[in-house]
Symmetry: C2
Subunit: 206 residues, 2 copies
């Protein structure tokens, strides 16, 4: 069966978003990353910021609170994890139904783990590369220690969220068909390699 869905999981700051966008543009596929937020906000009535903060992140504290049956709260009230998750998952399934799409993050690799049309990709990079990318993007010089810490916290809370909902470890090789170090290859080449893999698989399956 042809691969017409690409899920991209990624370490924070590794460039998975940009590679996904580049890939979608090149293939003429729909692209979903932050696009989820507005749509989930519309369907649930929950504010976009809450969805952005909790649609693929979970603090380690929240993991334990939930494990013992306590709903985690923030200063602004309970975090509606379950509702965000339910609507977001439904959205991912509807998007996948149509095919021809690139989906970044949101545990889509797990939701679509048994979909034969899905190619599951993971993008990572060294911490140095990721810190430099954030500096360039935000026009910063220095502040390496702060950026590094933020990246680590974000990765950890992606991992916690993923493990909470999937019972799988985030970032295990066996969960992905193709894993690329964007720091070594660069973003263009990662895009080329994913396109090459697709062309091969779809040519062979056609």
């Amino acid at each position: 069966m042809k691969k017409t869905i690409i899920t991209i999981s990624r370490e924070t700051g590794s460039g998975g978003h940009s590679i996904g966008k580049m890939l979608a543009d090149r293939l003429g596929y729909a692209f979903y990353d932050k696009e989820f937020v507005a749509e989930v906000a519309r369907e649930t009535g929950i504010d976009a910021e809450t969805i952005l903060q909790n649609g693929e992140y979970m603090a380690e504290g929240a993991f334990f609170e939930r494990a013992i049956g306590i709903a985690p709260v923030t200063r602004s009230g309970k975090i509606p994890y379950e509702e965000i998750k339910r609507v977001q998952d439904g959205l991912i399934r509807r998007i996948a139904e149509k095919g021809n799409c690139v989906i970044v993050g949101r545990g889509a690799d797990y939701i679509l783990r048994n979909d034969p049309r899905a190619l599951h990709v993971f993008i990572h990079a060294s911490m140095d590369y990721r810190v430099r990318r954030v500096q360039e993007k935000d026009g910063l010089t220095g502040q390496e220690a702060r950026i590094r810490k933020e990246l680590e916290v974000k990765d950890r809370s992606r991992g916690t969220y993923y493990q909470y909902y999937t019972d799988r470890k985030w970032g295990k090789v066996a969960n992905y068909h193709l894993v690329l170090d964007a720091g070594l290859f660069g973003q263009e080449q990662c895009c080329d390699m994913i396109c090459g893999a697709l062309a091969y698989l779809n040519g062979r399956e056609a």
Copy 2:
């Protein structure tokens, strides 16, 4: 710097050995997998079977015995892990020194983790694919449950060995530049993709 060393880590039965061999032949590189065993036997005087069993495998029990300072023993006596490891690591470093080589397993990805000439690859595949490969290789029909169990045990003891000596988890995406699902892509295509990655990197770096 040009990539002239390829380390291949692999799930048991995924075809990492065959892909490595194919790659070495295509590139005209030296190939090391079971080749280590005879060389380590020669240098240490330890019998080949003991080296084969303990040069990249460690039972979970042995991990705990070692962690609390007890040398694990088998019916034939103490397992000389440290001596095998020391000689094997030295051999890996000498091989790497010369470059133009493909090294399968033995934690070479860790030993050479800071060598800028090394490309670190991980090959995995679904359990179904791996069971089928073992059946074909050994000319078996049926016995899926037994084969599956053996593969799981072997993977687990590779993971235990790796973690004991590296303090890293085996099979984490961040430790590899390129990870391929050989069950999806097939062995020829995995070889093609690794060659493509090398050609790109070495062309760019040349």
